[in-house]
């Protein structure tokens, strides 16, 4: 799959398709991290566009005005995104769901407000030109391959988090925080850790996004973009990585390919979100799971619950000696 995607520049119809694929990769870098927060830990952040903007402006200022190497600026953008994630998460992650969502939305509005106000630094409403990366990543195809590589790496990270015990506990925090606490899971610390990670990926995505667009203004980072990231995850499905990945790709490409949808814009995302929440609240990914399960039905084994006390005693003994 990855190999096929890597050859895209050689079979794509035109430059625009490569640009679109690059945009999907950038969005996915952010969504992959956000997915751990929203899809796995169940913290409904609708304001990640704020962190994207911070990464983008950090990159534009450091690599553009101060002429840092783009690579160093990229690392710096990721770090700044992480720090801002920490600063946002510390007060807000303790709040109940609606409060948290409002706090993240407010954060996005605050970032927009500040980028507009700090004209000396950000160019205000006029915006900033953003430099590209050095060869061989200065061509559209080269930059696309760089984005694909970073996206693949981050996908691998989140896939690992999703399947090993530390990440499985995130699902416990989402579905039953009381049960998670009762076995010792440090709920707040873990929420904060994934939130900071999502800040880093948002910062990195912001830097790459800015470089891809080559010019940014506060209008690039409207609140609806944050909503879009969020919708990609909800539609793709909870505790899934493939679902949100497909969601991001389809939702990014669809309005570009189907003109009437572009006109409807965010209305389309709203309708889609409502339909998914009402019809398949666990996301379209879950729909496929259910269909698969239908295809190979489990034997409805009516089992008598019969403990094997000797085996239980052995297991407990083993635990004591461990």
């Amino acid at each position: 799959m990855l190999g096929l995607l890597a050859t895209l520049p050689w079979w794509a119809g035109d430059q625009y398709q490569i640009h679109l694929a690059a945009l999907i990769a950038v969005y996915w870098i952010l969504v992959a991290g956000l997915n751990l927060v929203v899809g796995f830990t169940g913290q409904l952040s609708i304001g990640h566009v704020g962190l994207l903007a911070i990464g983008a402006y950090a990159f534009a200022i450091l690599a553009g005005r101060y002429e840092w190497s783009p690579w160093i600026a990229l690392l710096a953008s990721g770090s700044i995104g992480g720090v801002c994630g920490l600063l946002l998460g510390l007060p807000s992650l303790r709040l109940p769901g609606f409060y948290f969502a409002m706090a993240t939305m407010a954060f996005a509005l605050i970032v927009a407000e500040i980028t507009l106000a700090l004209g000396d630094l950000t160019g205000g409403g006029v915006g900033l030109a953003v430099p590209g990366f050095s060869a061989p990543f200065d061509s559209p195809a080269g930059f696309y391959l760089l984005l694909l590589g970073i996206a693949a790496l981050i996908t691998w990270f989140t896939w690992n988090v999703a399947r090993f015990p530390w990440g499985r506990a995130l699902v416990a925090i989402r579905d039953n925080p009381v049960a998670a606490e009762s076995v010792g899971v440090p709920v707040f610390r873990m929420k904060l850790a994934v939130f900071v990670l999502s800040g880093i990926t948002a910062g990195v995505a912001g830097a790459l996004f800015a470089s891809l667009q080559s010019y940014i203004t506060p209008d690039t980072f409207v609140f609806e973009l944050g909503l879009f990231f969020f919708v990609c995850i909800i539609i793709g499905g909870r505790s899934s990585i493939v679902g949100p990945l497909v969601g991001t790709a389809v939702l990014t490409a669809l309005p570009e390919l189907v003109a009437p949808l572009a006109k409807l814009g965010n209305l389309f995302y709203g309708v889609l979100l409502l339909a998914v929440v009402l019809l398949v609240p666990e996301g379209i990914g879950r729909l496929f799971e259910v269909l698969l399960a239908r295809l190979r039905p489990e034997r409805a084994a009516s089992h008598v619950l019969e403990p094997d006390t000797e085996r239980l005693a052995a297991a407990i003994r083993k635990g004591r000696d461990a």
Partner: protein
């Protein structure tokens, strides 16, 4: 041998005193029954021991170590496990996943090593999986490892909660009405499980309405009424106590 102690603990909610200077000791390798009418403070006491509530007065200790004020997580790491009146499972996760969660304190890998899937992470996952599978087999859930937990029957859910608590390798396990909603035959099997825990050296606190079950299985019994200690002793002593009979058991 370490014991889990509540010493003259009190808990108030607003103006209401839910518990008033109650003491209780759970020794390792014993079943300690805790009974009383509705609203007598049984579950409140369990919540004080497990850390979901904090004491207003008195102390909770693990021998000399003062746990009053310690978070739930710290008590879990010290080996105090619990189950819930209404089973609290991860409905969308498999039975095996649910039980593995209990082994949390024995894994050390954090976010970074997990993201990189270091060998240690894989090793720990195997260890937790093997342990959970063994416990589930011992509890009679070996056939359902990959079933979603919300598809389990009620008794299976209760036993899965016990499996999760046992995966913590607890020194003490606090069971909140584990027999609730079980059939007679299932209660018998639950009894066999609880005896196995006790024989394995675990201290069991059994909060239960089903008094016959409690008297039949407990080594010692404590009775609460209106937030106060009513009687404490062997099952024989408690069930023949005139005061206990008057307020709880009925003539």
């Amino acid at each position: 041998m370490t014991a889990l102690l509540a010493e003259r603990v009190s808990k108030r909610f607003g103006g209401l005193t839910a518990l008033d200077a109650v003491s209780l000791t759970v020794e390792p390798g014993e079943v300690h029954g805790l009974i009383g009418p509705n609203g007598s403070g049984k579950t409140t006491l369990l919540n004080l021991l497990s850390g979901f509530y904090q004491v207003d007065e008195g102390s909770v200790r693990l021998d000399a170590e003062d746990l009053s004020g310690a978070a739930v997580q710290r008590r879990a790491r010290l080996g105090i496990a619990r189950t819930f009146q209404k089973p609290r499972l991860l409905g969308s996760q498999t039975v095996l996943e649910n039980a593995m969660l209990g082994g949390w304190r024995d894994r050390s890998a954090g976010l970074l090593s997990t993201a990189l899937s270091l060998p240690r992470v894989r090793r720990e996952q195997r260890m937790l999986r093997d342990r959970a599978a063994e416990l589930l087999a011992g509890l009679g859930l070996g056939h359902a490892l990959n079933r979603r937990a919300n598809l389990l029957e009620h008794a299976e859910q209760r036993f899965l909660e016990i499996a999760r608590a046992l995966a913590l390798r607890p020194r003490f396990i606090l069971l909140d009405e584990p027999a609730g909603g079980l059939t007679g035959a299932e209660i018998e099997r639950l009894g066999a499980v609880i005896r196995t825990l006790r024989d394995g050296g675990i201290g069991v606190l059994l909060v239960e309405h089903h008094t016959e079950f409690v008297f039949g299985i407990s080594d010692r019994v404590t009775t609460l009424n209106l937030g106060r200690l009513l009687r404490h002793g062997t099952p024989q002593e408690v069930r023949n106590d005139p005061e206990v009979i008057r307020v709880y058991l009925g003539a």
